[in-house]
């Protein structure tokens, strides 16, 4: 019940935004900008002929592939950089230079290297999500409290046990934060990447709708769907934060 009442203000805000949008379109007598009703009709049209699901599936596949490769790369590397000081001082400057480069800036090079198939957007997603995850994982290891490392030292456990039962689980909450950030930017980037080439995906849907006869109701529909899926992806990552062995870091 509390959850329901808590959601009321945000629902009101959404309703007001839609109302203003609708009123603005009607009052300005715009012929191109769609009303909320037209957007709903457009969405239903896409859903019924099946193209919507194809675009969503294509985008999710690219994000999933790029993000997964980034996870497999960033977490071991971040743990290593966090634990071994030499690795950190050697590699950190390189990543700090690469990190601020917008993934969009990589598009020409991605096309040069990988062509216009799926590999390009997957590479861009990898580039976008790998750095925040490396940084967060490294920070996670660096911020392990000394008292825990001392306790582990006191019991004289094996390196494997130290790593599996102390270093990794201690850094895990930060790793999850990194994964949330990483997935967020991955979703941002896939849409941008799909606007360039390809013949599928939500980014393609948006550009194609405009190019093929100014179907702005489909443009806006695509935007809203991107927003909603982004919200769901973040919600899924938040579930990870509810795991009992990481709660300690978030509850204070």
């Amino acid at each position: 019940m509390k959850k329901v009442t808590g959601a009321i203000p945000s629902i009101i805000v959404l309703a007001v935004v839609v109302l203003i949008w609708w009123a603005a379109v009607v009052l300005t007598k715009s012929v191109i900008f769609p009303t909320p009703g037209k957007v709903v009709m457009g969405t239903l049209e896409l859903a019924s002929d099946g193209t919507l699901w194809e675009h969503i599936a294509a985008s999710l596949f690219r994000v999933g592939a790029g993000f997964l490769i980034a996870v497999l790369f960033a977490i071991p590397l971040g743990l290593w950089m966090g634990w071994v000081h030499g690795a950190y001082v050697t590699l950190n400057p390189l990543f700090q230079i690469l990190r601020p480069i917008s993934p969009i800036a990589w598009i020409p090079i991605a096309i040069l290297w990988f062509g216009v198939g799926n590999a390009s957007p997957i590479y861009l997603i990898f580039i976008a999500s790998v750095f925040p995850m490396i940084v967060q994982t490294t920070t996670g290891v660096h911020t392990i409290e000394k008292r825990y490392l001392r306790a582990a030292e006191n019991f004289g456990v094996t390196r494997k046990k130290l790593f599996l039962q102390v270093v990794f689980p201690a850094a895990l909450p930060q790793i999850i934060v990194g994964m949330r950030i990483g997935l967020g930017v991955a979703w941002l980037v896939v849409v941008a990447a799909e606007m360039i080439a390809l013949r599928s995906g939500l980014g393609y849907l948006i550009m194609d709708s405009r190019n093929a006869g100014n179907r702005y109701e489909l443009v806006v529909a695509g935007m809203i769907i991107i927003g909603l899926i982004g919200l769901m992806l973040d919600g899924a990552m938040r579930l990870l934060e509810n795991m009992k062995n990481v709660r300690w870091r978030y509850v204070h």
């Binding site: 825990y148 001392r150 306790a151 582990a152 006191n154 004289g156 456990v157 039962q165 062995n245 300690w248």
Partner: protein, 250 residues
């Protein structure tokens, strides 16, 4: 009665470099702790008690001198002497049971049974699968004591172990500690700023001087357990120790 010597602190010195030059924290410290003895160290705050404990437990090397356990110089911490500190170090990402299992080698056949036994010993039966953040401060302390004892250390190093608890819980944990120590004999070194706690628990109390720390006075605590800190002899001892610490009671 002859008691075997367990810990020897020999000519230990320790200092740290600071912006204003070298700061001597411990100077020429010498004392011995017998096997099975409970020695409390009290001293003014900032006198280097924690530094001393870290040296004795092996986490910090002295500049000169040595700490010998059973005659062997101690250079690194090991499971034979487990340190319990004020902040605690029960791993928050492991359950109580997993924490107790942590220090036990994987190949030990009865490790699960041991963990269970020690969880029960400290009164945590039924909480084995809880995570530390689901426990109260007192229960967390119990878990820490159980994790230390389950590896069967010969020495317990306790650095202000109950200072973060409220006064009532601190007293309760002191009684718990005595109850457990009556079952399992350990050599214990306790650092505390609480003179009553020291009198309640220890066989002998060493008073440290302000920095650089030296042994300023040593008091035997000849009272049988269970002790009443309110009895006149104990109060007289308390007054004498506080006087050494520069506190005159009127």
């Amino acid at each position: 009665m002859f008691i075997k010597t367990k810990i020897v602190v020999e000519e230990v010195r320790k200092g740290f470099p600071t912006d204003e030059g070298r700061l001597d924290v411990i100077a020429d410290l010498n004392f011995k702790v017998g096997d099975g003895e409970f020695v409390a160290i009290v001293g003014p705050s900032g006198c280097g008690k924690t530094t001393l404990m870290n040296i004795i437990a092996g986490f910090l090397a002295p500049d000169t001198g040595a700490v010998k356990i059973d005659g062997v110089p101690r250079s690194a911490p090991n499971r034979n002497g487990v340190l319990i500190t004020q902040q605690g170090s029960v791993f928050p990402w492991l359950t109580v049971r997993e924490n107790l299992l942590f220090g036990l080698p994987d190949e030990l056949p009865n490790r699960e049974a041991l963990a269970q036994e020690y969880a029960e010993l400290v009164g945590l039966k039924g909480f084995e699968n809880n995570y530390p953040h689901e426990l109260s401060g007192g229960m967390l302390k119990r878990a820490e004591i159980a994790r230390a004892l389950v590896v069967k250390p010969e020495i317990l190093y306790m650095d202000e172990p109950f200072s973060a608890l409220d006064a009532l819980m601190s007293l309760r944990m002191q009684n718990e500690l005595l109850r457990i120590l009556a079952k399992e004999r350990h050599t214990v070194m306790l650092i505390t700023h609480d003179v009553e706690e020291a009198i309640h628990l220890a066989d002998r109390i060493l008073v440290l001087s302000p920095r650089p720390a030296r042994i300023q006075a040593s008091f035997d605590v000849p009272f049988a357990h269970p002790r009443r800190v309110s009895n006149p002899e104990a109060q007289a001892l308390r007054v004498a120790i506080l006087k050494e610490l520069g506190v005159e009671l009127v």
